[in-house]
């Protein structure tokens, strides 16, 4: 039960609006966690704080035992964090192959090499081929990122996120806007990858996804955590039911 990430009293406000209000939470390596909650609950802001996209107002974050509260994003990634984005954030002008090749080369500490041809780095190329095969984008490897369908771009998003071999990977609404077929693909991928060394923390609205995947569910509301436990517990939780006001949880 290795603890990967821990926060203490994380707080973030935008003017008068407190998006994240004193959140203390921890994530361990063995459980796939979903973070759910109504819109505006602070889920994406929390992810932004944890990954370094936003600076914290107060509180601390510890990753693998060391404090990372003020460390920039690229440094956190080097230590083992990863992320996919809710709003599409691939490299639109590069081919699918190069989209994956970039983070792979970075992970292999080869990004600064300016005198060698990209093709010469066989280890990177093999790794890219492997990842493309896993997410199922091998046939489309020469297509330009911006030209992919929405579902394929989501797959690519995931591919980029896992290319840096993160130990803790945040997925922000990985299935949004996808049709059922594409959704199944993504879920299979997430299941497959969480068998390896990646621990996923997923922000999701789709309850089917949440309940089929998660070992643990965290419910946020108005910047705070109102429930945290196994899926069966969450289903019965009175507070959660109130918050979702009659919505079907399963």
């Amino acid at each position: 039960m290795t603890e990967l990430l821990r926060t203490e009293g994380l707080r973030k406000a935008f003017g008068h609006f407190t998006a994240v209000d004193g959140v203390s939470i921890h994530f361990t390596a063995d459980a796939l966690t979903s973070i759910i909650g109504p819109n505006g609950a602070g889920k994406t802001t929390l992810i932004n704080l944890l990954t370094g996209s936003l600076p914290v107002d107060s509180g601390k974050i510890f990753f693998k035992g060391r404090e990372i509260t003020t460390i920039p994003t690229d440094e956190r990634v080097k230590r083992g964090m990863g992320r996919s984005f809710q709003i599409m954030n691939i490299f639109p002008m590069l081919t699918v192959f190069k989209n994956i090749q970039l983070p792979v080369l970075s992970h292999l500490h080869k990004s600064l090499k300016f005198l060698s041809r990209i093709e010469a780095h066989r280890d990177a190329i093999e790794e890219v081929e492997r990842i493309l095969g896993e997410v199922g984008l091998w046939e489309k490897r020469d297509m330009v990122g911006g030209e992919l369908s929405h579902g394929d771009q989501r797959l690519l998003e995931m591919g980029i996120a896992i290319a840096s071999k993160p130990e803790l990977c945040f997925l922000d609404e990985p299935t949004s806007g996808m049709n059922p077929v594409e959704r199944v693909k993504i879920l299979e991928n997430i299941k497959k990858l969480s068998q390896r060394q990646t621990t996923f923390v997923i922000v999701e609205h789709d309850m089917d996804v949440v309940f089929s995947l998660s070992d643990r569910i965290v419910v946020m509301h108005r910047g705070g955590i109102i429930a945290d436990g196994k899926p069966s517990e969450i289903k019965e939780n009175q507070n959660v039911k109130e918050v979702y006001l009659g919505e079907e949880l399963t």
Binding site: D74, T95, S106, S111, F114, L115, R117
Partner: protein, 332 residues
């Protein structure tokens, strides 16, 4: 979009490239001084523009101050040549001076992006211009530096090649520029080059690939400065003078125009653009002295209609057409 320009998969067949290089080497035997002179200017502008495009096309940063580094290269080389009349130290001194200034100014500039970056570069370029213009004791002020020798290319004790004939200097410029272009081609097709493109495409995404964006931008900026400096350093031995206008922002516009003409998104775009720039200027000037308005109209037309530049027409229409023709020709 494939970045590679050469080879089976690429846009320019190797044969064409080799033919072009051979032609350039034979040029002094088939053409007169004027053509050699113009070709040297095209080569120098190509190097200048290629460096500029590392910033624009590959990293997504528009700099309007590259002339400042060009001037550093020119004045640096000139000052060295006036002390040690030997070509290599002069050129090296110019390039290094430009590179150091680029590193320092780059550190300040890359903290901002987009419009503020453009304005900062414009500002620094003009600062260099104002120094070049007013600091009489260092730069000769308005009159600039004169009497710069076209020093011999020599390694003491090993060889010394006299450069006073235009043909000899032409070969020096040609070889240096070709080497610089080849080096840059290798750089942009390296992992570093790919990372730059990622920075251009999505700054937020690339942080999550573990890349510290500022460092890479600074390196790109320095490379652009070094290449601008090289372009500038090749100038003084040719013209024998260096004057302040080389640092003015309107001179910074030249690599911008060349790159726009030839195409921002391909490696060879700036080279094609440099060629077009001089050809257009040369042709237009024969008919009318008003070549700026034609150039301006072309720029407007390009931005409005054809952001890919001329090379994009080449890629999308001409090359497939050529291939088709040759394929058919083979069968007949």
């Amino acid at each position: 979009m494939s970045r590679s320009m050469i080879g089976r998969n690429g846009k320019i067949p190797i044969l064409l490239l080799v033919a072009l290089i051979v032609f350039l080497f034979l040029l002094p035997y088939v053409a007169g001084k004027y053509v050699m002179y113009m070709t040297m200017h095209i080569l120098v502008l190509s190097v200048f523009a290629l460096g500029f495009n590392v910033l624009l096309g590959y990293t997504g940063l528009l700099s309007f101050g590259q002339a400042g580094f060009y001037a550093c290269g020119a004045y640096g080389c000139a000052k060295m040549l006036l002390v040690i009349p030997s070509l290599l130290p002069g050129v090296i001194c110019g390039v290094l001076f430009a590179g150091i200034i680029a590193l320092i100014l780059g550190f300040l500039c890359i903290r901002h992006t987009r419009i503020y970056f453009a304005m900062l570069t414009l500002c620094f370029g003009m600062m260099i211009y104002s120094l070049a213009w007013k600091w009489r004791t260092m730069t000769g002020g308005d009159d600039g530096l004169v009497g710069i020798p076209r020093a011999p290319l020599e390694i003491p004790g090993i060889f010394s090649i006299n450069m006073s004939s235009l043909g000899n200097y032409y070969y020096f410029v040609l070889i240096v520029c070709l080497l610089a272009i080849m080096l840059l081609y290798r750089i942009v097709n390296s992992p570093f080059g790919l990372t730059l493109q990622g920075i251009r495409d999505s700054e937020s995404r690339i942080a999550f690939a573990g890349i510290s964006v500022k460092n890479y931008r600074l390196i790109a900026f320095t490379i652009a400065g070094l290449y601008a400096g090289l372009a500038g350093a090749l100038l003084p031995p040719l013209e024998n003078t260096v004057t302040p206008p080389v640092a003015h922002w309107t001179h910074s516009a030249e690599p911008v125009l060349a790159t726009l003409l030839g195409g921002i998104h391909t490696f060879a775009g700036p080279i094609a653009g440099a060629f077009l720039f001089y050809v257009i200027k040369d042709i237009i000037v024969r008919f009318t002295e008003y070549w700026l308005i034609c150039l301006g109209a072309i720029v407007v037309a390009l931005v409005m209609g054809l952001p890919g530049g001329v090379v994009s027409i080449f890629e999308k229409r001409l090359v497939p057409w050529i291939r088709l023709r040759f394929a058919q020709g083979g069968r007949r």
